[in-house]
């Protein structure tokens, strides 16, 4: 099935083909290490950056379904919750165990990554179970089902002792770090961009454009939609798992429908189908309340408006969306990427690289 629809020109490179896929990861590692070192003395900045990173993962992964495939999922917070709780419970149970042949810090990180992956896989499994029946149909069924799924997960968590009910889970080891978060941001973006450039991405694009025609061309529409949905859910689970390891407490209130809509807004704002758009929008919308808070503080509205920023966030989102729909209905970048839209000082070659 993996037949490229477009003959890809042979890229000349000094790196052997087998290692080329790993190259971006290897290049990212020292950058992240430096980043971690710079961040080590700034707890609030670390926290904020981690939240931005988690939101980027959520937006970029949702974009695979809502943007690239043209389906409409509005329950992303549900998959995030699955990842957060599964990995949170796992980490709580593994807390006192250490691998004796490794230093404690390293052993912690090993368990952390393990529980991240378990959280991601659990979310992916949920994605498969939710996606398979609803993606066989065309139309709005996925929206309804994912909406229901998100709420079901929240209610289940709220009523399960193992998940701490409404009080939430606390005491999860805080093993996450901005570097770790951004490593997974990087992986998510890499996967999303690889999908766009592959025949898999072409298939998703065809489905987005015209599902009937795509089917007539021989695209296994259900199969591709489910695969996209499972990949998206997996990263949502990873995002949730990361989140659980740097906030002091996770509770059902963090994974409501409002959170799902927040992610949808990010994807729509960035442009349905644009990975870089999702990144920019996620960063902007996450930092927006902080910016407003500082603004109100500077204006001397301390104690009143500055405290209420979190409450006025949703009306601001709504306003932003209305303005966006009027001014730029396709989102910031439409289906394109930042280097297609911004001036040409970013060389066009990068499109092929990413």
């Amino acid at each position: 099935m993996e037949t490229p629809a477009i003959p890809v020109p042979e890229a000349r490179s000094v790196v052997p083909a087998s290692l080329r896929g790993l190259l971006p990861v290897l290049l990212a590692l020292p950058v992240l290490a430096l980043f971690q070192w710079l961040m080590s003395d700034a707890p609030f900045a670390s926290y904020l950056l981690s939240v931005v990173g988690v939101n980027i993962i959520l937006a970029v992964s949702l974009n695979i379904v809502n943007g690239m495939t043209g389906q409409f999922s509005i329950g992303h917070a549900g998959f995030m919750a699955v990842g957060a709780y599964i990995s949170g419970v796992l980490s709580l149970n593994l807390k006192d165990i250490a691998l004796s042949f490794l230093p404690v810090a390293v052993s912690d990180q090993v368990f952390f990554v393990l529980s991240l992956l378990v959280g991601g896989l659990a979310a992916a499994l949920c994605g498969f179970l939710v996606g398979l029946p609803s993606l066989r149909l065309r139309g709005d069924y996925l929206a309804i089902v994912t909406l229901g799924f998100g709420e079901i997960i929240r209610v289940v968590v709220q009523n399960t002792d193992a998940f701490g009910r409404a009080l939430g889970l606390s005491g999860i080891p805080q093993t996450s770090s901005p570097a770790m978060v951004y490593f997974f941001v990087f992986l998510t973006v890499l996967v999303a961009r690889r999908i766009t450039g592959s025949s898999h991405g072409r298939s998703l694009w065809a489905i987005r454009e015209d599902e009937v025609a795509a089917e007539a061309m021989g695209v296994d529409t259900t199969g591709y939609k489910v695969r996209a949905f499972v990949i998206s859910s997996f990263f949502a689970g990873i995002a949730g798992a990361l989140f659980a390891h740097f906030v002091p407490i996770i509770n059902p209130g963090s994974f409501t429908f409002v959170k799902s809509m927040e992610i949808v807004v990010m994807v729509v704002l960035g442009g349905l189908g644009s990975t870089t758009g999702a990144i920019v929008a996620a960063t902007f919308l996450t930092l927006l309340p902080e910016g407003l808070r500082s603004l109100f503080t500077v204006l001397g509205a301390e104690g009143s408006l500055a405290q209420k920023v979190d409450q006025i966030r949703m009306p601001v989102y709504g306003l932003l969306l209305v303005v966006l729909m009027l001014a730029r209905p396709q989102g910031l970048f439409g289906t394109k990427e930042i280097w297609d839209v911004l001036p040409r000082w970013i060389p066009r070659k990068r499109r092929g690289l990413a």
């Binding site: 037949t3 003959p7 454009e209 009937v212 089917e215 007539a216 061309m217 021989g218 695209v219 289906t335």
Partner: protein, 251 residues
Amino acid sequence: MSDAQVKTLGERQAFPPLLSVDGIKVHYGAIQALKGVSLTVGKGEVVALIGANGAGKTSTLRAVSGMLKPSGGRIQFNGHDTTTLKAHQLVPRGMAHAPEGRGVFPNMTVQENLELGAYLRTDTSGIQADLEKSFTLFPVLKERRKQMAGTLSGGEQQMLAIARALLSKPQLLLLDEPSLGLAPQVTEAIFRTLREVNATGVSVLLVEQNAHLALNAAHYGYVLETGEVVMAGPGKALLESAEVRRAYLGE
């Protein structure tokens, strides 16, 4: 007409068998769209399926191409039972469907649309050759190869849909209402090309409301009425039959 007799006119020209549809039924919920449609298409033959709105023409085509699952009956293609196969399994077996309403990918260029037609093929040089072939067949597509398909005129979109379907290298091309919403001259141009396509050995199963054009172009034709075949015969014979003239040609 519950137990309709198929009225057959004239002698059918002999073609080696390619597609045989045997009593297929299709239900949309409680509504039965096809009550048992049987037809055959030979290798190299052009077969037209005519009938009024809602007669079941499109449903027949969709059942044949695997986009709909028939609730009864059998479909054989190239000697294999393909009744339960889906569209993506039938395309590599040589069946191409240009769906109703053209269905081009509007935000892709003409070239990208055509390349998606070759979605399941891996022979890069063969695809290139066939691309060139479709540009000679439809020169206007060559002029517009870098243009977004959504900006083409209706006729050009129809040509693109046909060209795209042909890029999967089909033995059988299923065409749904190629004349829909097109000017008569454009329609005629498309039908002329269709004959050229057929001359290269591709069989065509054509669904049309424009009975005159379709029957003129077809070796053989079937008349569908409320989910059943009521009449069959060579294109010319159907054109001359009083019933067809009265019902579909407005005489």
